[in-house]
C-alpha cells in the first residue's frame, strides 16, 4: 500500500515491535506526530519536558529491558538536545534509535531555520547514522537501524528524515522484526587455551562488565565461580548482573570499588573478564594494574581486546556461548588459600566500614539511606541514578535481586541523566522505580518531574541533598587544598518539597533515618510521583577511593 513517509516511519516502528516512544514535537516532525496521532492506540508516546529527557528515557527504557529505546525530536535544537543522551548511550553500549526531522531537501545546506547537520554532529557518538533523502530508502533504513542498534556490541543509531521525505508517498509492506546479527562462535583452540589458563590458576577472579550484565549469565557466572573456586567482582556497568546474596560476589572494583573486590583483583593470578573494557576508572594507572596477573577477555567487539590493557587471551565471539563452553570444560578445583585470603579481605572491608560508620555522628548517613531502601523496596525494583557521590554510594550499597535493575550513566557520567532514565525504566517495566540523585544532578533536568506527573509515572526520587557538588568537593578536599571553587550550592535556597508540590508531585523532607524510612515507605505505597529531600552532611565521602591515575597501593580508606 502507498503511505506517506511519516506514516511509514510509525508503521515501521510498530512492525519492529516498538510500543513506547519518547519525544517532543516541532516544526519538522509535525507529520510524524500526525502519524503518531493516527496510531495512538498501537504506540504510546511520552511527551517529555525537554528532548534531552526523551533521549535519557529511551536509554533507561532500553537498560531496564534490553529492548531498543526510541526517541523523536525535531530538527535543529530538538536534534542537538538529544546529543548528550545519544552520547550517554554510546559510551555504555545501549541500543537506541533516535529519529529526527530535518528541513526539506531543497533547504538543506542553506542555513535554513532550525537546520542542523545532525548526522554530522552525531557521527562520533552513534554506532551508525542515516540521512534519508529518498523515500525509497526510508523503511529499510529504519529496519537496518534497529538491526545495527541491537547486534554485536549494541549502541545508538540516528535517522534524520527531511520533511519532504516525510510527506512523499511510497509503497509500504510490513516486514518481520529484524534479527540480531549472529556473533561468531568461539574457536575451539581459544576455549582450550582459556581452560588451560583457568586450570593452571590458583587465584582466579571473574570480572563482570556491562557486556555481561544484560545477557542473563548470572547463574552461570556463579556456577563457574563455584566450580573453580573463584572470586567474582564487577565493573560499575556490571552491577546487578549477579543477584544479591552470592557469597562469592565482592561487588564493584575500581576507583570507588569495594575494598575486597579491588584488592583481590590485584592479587589474583588470573582475571576472567566478561564484557569489560578495562576503563581508566576501573584500572587506575594501567602500567601498575594487575601487574602479575594473567587476563582472559571475552567480548563481542574485537577493538576492545588489547585496547586498554594487554591481555593473555582475547576471545571475540558470542560471549554467552564462549562463557558456557568454558564453564563446561574447566576442571573443578578448590583453592583454600585463595578463599581464606578473600575472607580475610572481606573482614578487613567490614572493619573499614565499621570504622567509618563509628566516626560519623550523622543522623542520616548515605549508608543508612541504602539500608532503608534495601530493606523496604519491593522485588524487581529498578534503581536509577544521576552522577556524583550518590551514584557511587548506590553502586556500593544498593542491592539488586535481578539483572537490568541498575540504570546509571557509567561511561559518559551524565549529570541530569537520572530522572529521564527512571521515567523510561518505569514505563518499560512497570516495576517500582527509585531515582537516587543529588541536588546538583537533579537541578540539571528536574523539569522531567512534569513528564512523570502528567503521565502518571510514579518515580520515587531520593534526593541526597548535601548543598554541595559533593564529588567535585571530595576531590577539592583531597587534592586541591579544600579550595571549594564553585561547588557550594546552599545559596540556591531551593525548597525541594515545595518544588515537588509545584510540579504536582508529593514532597517530603527527611533529616533522620526514621523520617527517611517513613517517607520512603509512604512513597513506595502511594503510587505517586514523590521527591524525598534527603538531608545528608556535605562532608560525607565516597570511600574507599583509588586516586585518579593511582594504583592499588594508593587506595584511600580514611579521610581526616
Amino acid at each position: 500500500m502507498k503511505l506517506k513517509g511519516s506514516e511509514i516511519i510509525i508503521r515501521t516502528l510498530i512492525e519492529q515491535g516498538v510500543t513506547d516512544v519518547f519525544g517532543y514535537p516541532g516544526g519538522q516532525v509535525i507529520n510524524i506526530y500526525d502519524a503518531l496521532y493516527k496510531y495512538r492506540d498501537e504506540i504510546n508516546h511520552v511527551l517529555t519536558a525537554h528532548e534531552q529527557g526523551a533521549s535519557h528515557a529511551a536509554d533507561g527504557y532500553s537498560r531496564a529491558t534490553g529492548k531498543v529505546g526510541v526517541c523523536i525530536a525535531t530538527s535543529g535544537p530538538g536534534a542537538t538536545n538529544l546529543v548528550t543522551g545519544i552520547a550517554t548511550a554510546m559510551l555504555d553500549s545501549i541500543p537506541m534509535v533516535a529519529i529526527t526531522g530535518n528541513v526539506p531537501c531543497s533547504l538543506i545546506g542553506k542555513d535554513s531555520f532550525q537546520e542542523i547537520d545532525i548526522t554530522g554532529v552525531t557521527l562520533p557518538i552513534t554506532k551508525h547514522n542515516y540521512f534519508v533523502n529518498r523515500i525509497e530508502e526510508l523503511a529499510d533504513s529504519i529496519r537496518e537501524a534497529f538491526a545495527i542498534a541491537k547486534s554485536g556490541r549494541p549502541g545508538p543509531v540516528l535517522i534524520d528524515v527531511p520533511k519532504d521525505v516525510q510527506v512523499a508517498e511510497y509503497e509500504y509492506e510490513p516486514m518481520p522484526v529484524v534479527e540480531k546479527q549472529a556473533l561468531p562462535e568461539p574457536e575451539a583452540k581459544d576455549i582450550e587455551k582459556a581452560v588451560e589458563l583457568i586450570n593452571a590458576s590458583e587465584r582466579p577472579y571473574i570480572y563482570i562488565g556491562g557486556g555481561a550484565a544484560g545477557l542473563g549469565l548470572g547463574k552461570d557466572i556463579v556456577r563457574l565461580a563455584d566450580k573453580i573456586d573463584a572470586a567474582i567482582g564487577c565493573t560499575f556497568m556490571g552491577i546487578s548482573a549477579i543477584p544479591d546474596g552470592c557469597p562469592r560476589f565482592l561487588g564493584m572494583q575500581g576507583m570507588h570499588g569495594h575494598y575486597a573486590s579491588s584488592i583481590s583483583q590485584n592479587e589474583a593470578d588470573l582475571i576472567i573478564g566478561v564484557g569489560v573494557r578495562f576503563s581508566d576508572r576501573a584500572t587506575g594507572n594501567v602500567a601498575k594494574y594487575a601487574r602479575s596477573t594473567k587476563i582472559i577477555q571475552l567480548d563481542p567487539d574485537s577493538a576492545e581486546i588489547n585496547k586498554n590493557v594487554v591481555v593473555d587471551l582475547g576471545i571475540v565471539a558470542d560471549v554467552e556461548h564462549a562463557f558456557r563452553a568454558i564453564l563446561e570444560a574447566v576442571e573443578s578445583k578448590a583453592h583454600p588459600e585463595w578463599s581464606a585470603r578473600i575472607e580475610e579481605l572481606k573482614e578487613e572491608e567490614e572493619r573499614i566500614e565499621k570504622h567509618i560508620a563509628a566516626k560519623s555522628d550523622a543522623k542520616l548517613s548515605p549508608k543508612m539511606v541504602f539500608d532503608v531502601i534495601n530493606a523496604c523496596k519491593p522485588p524487581r525494583t529498578v534503581i536509577a541514578t544521576d552522577v556524583g557521590q550518590h551514584q557511587m554510594w548506590t553502586a556500593q550499597y544498593a542491592t539488586f535481586d535481578t539483572t537490568r535493575r541498575f540504570v546509571s550513566s557509567g561511561g559518559l557520567g551524565t549529570m541530569g541523566f537520572g530522572l529521564g532514565a527512571a521515567i523510561g525504566a518505569r514505563v518499560a517495566t512497570g516495576d517500582t522505580t527509585v531515582l537516587i540523585t543529588g541536588d546538583g544532578s537533579f537541578g540539571m533536568n528536574l523539569n522531567e518531574l512534569a513528564t512523570a506527573v502528567s503521565h502518571g509515572i510514579p518515580v520515587v526520587v531520593v534526593l541526597m541533598n548535601n548543598g554541595v557538588l559533593g564529588m567535585v568537593r571530595q576531590w577539592q578536599t583531597l587534592f586541591f587544598g579544600k579550595r571549594y571553587s564553585e561547588t557550594v550550592l546552599t545559596d540556591r535556597r531551593t525548597d525541594f518539597v515545595k518544588l515537588a508540590e509545584a510540579f504536582g508531585a508529593v514532597g517530603y523532607r527527611a533529616g533522620t533515618r526514621e523520617e527517611f524510612e517513613d517517607a520512603f515507605k509512604k512513597a513506595i505505597a502511594s503510587g505517586e510521583v514523590t521527591v524525598i529531600d534527603t538531608l545528608i552532611d556535605k562532608d560525607e565521602f565516597v570511600l574507599p577511593m583509588l586516586p585518579p591515575g593511582g594504583s592499588i597501593d594508593d587506595i584511600i580508606t580514611e579521610i581526616d
Partner: protein, 168 residues
C-alpha cells in the same frame, strides 16, 4: 615502546556520500594521524577503495583495523603487505634558466618523469612512482626553486593474485 613503522591500509567502503568523513572522523577521534590518503571508485561502482598511509606501532595497527571494521560502511579492510606495489603521482612546477634547464631535463629523463607544461622560465613536471622516488625527486629539484607542487595519496595493490575483496 613498540616499533613505529610506516604502513598502508586499504579498504573497500560503500560508495555513498559521507563515508569518507566517517572513516577520517574515526582517525581524528582516536588520535591517529593520516600521512596520505587516496579515494576512488573500484571495479564495482557500489564500492570505493580508500588507501591510507600512516605510521604507527603494532597497537595502532591493530586498533585501526578493529575500529575500521566497526564502521557500518567499511566492507573490508587490511594492512597491505610491506612489498605491495605503491604508486603516487606528483605535479611539480620548477623555474629554470638556460643554465639549469639541461640539468632539470636530465633528471626528468632519469626519473622517467614527464614535462607537461613548458613556458619561459617555468616548467611543470609529472612524476609517478613509489613515494620514496617522489621524495628523492623533490630533493633533487629543491635547489632549482620549486614554485608549487602537489602530490596525490598513495594507491597500492598487493602482488600476485591477492585481492582485497571479492565482489561476488
Amino acid at each position: 615502546m613498540a616499533k613505529t613503522e610506516k604502513f598502508v591500509i586499504a579498504m573497500y567502503v560503500d560508495n555513498k556520500f559521507g563515508v569518507l568523513t566517517r572513516v577520517t572522523g574515526m582517525f581524528t577521534r582516536r588520535g591517529f594521524n593520516i600521512d596520505a590518503l587516496a579515494v576512488g571508485e573500484t571495479e564495482s561502482s557500489d564500492y570505493s577503495r580508500i588507501t591510507i598511509t600512516l605510521s604507527g606501532d603494532k597497537y595502532v595497527r591493530e586498533q585501526l583495523i578493529n575500529q575500521l571494521n566497526k564502521l557500518h560502511n567499511v566492507k573490508k579492510v587490511e594492512v597491505l603487505d610491506d612489498d605491495c606495489i605503491k604508486r603516487q603521482l606528483m605535479l611539480l612546477k620548477v623555474s629554470y634558466t638556460s643554465a639549469t634547464r639541461a640539468e632539470i631535463l636530465a633528471a626528468v629523463e632519469v626519473y622517467r618523469a614527464k614535462v607537461i607544461d613548458y613556458t619561459t622560465g617555468e616548467m611543470c613536471i609529472e612524476v609517478t612512482g613509489d613515494p620514496s622516488k617522489i621524495d628523492a625527486f623533490i630533493k633533487l629539484m629543491l635547489p632549482f626553486g620549486i614554485l608549487e607542487m602537489c602530490r596525490t595519496g598513495v594507491v597500492a595493490l598487493e602482488r600476485g593474485n591477492k585481492t582485497l575483496f571479492n565482489n561476488d
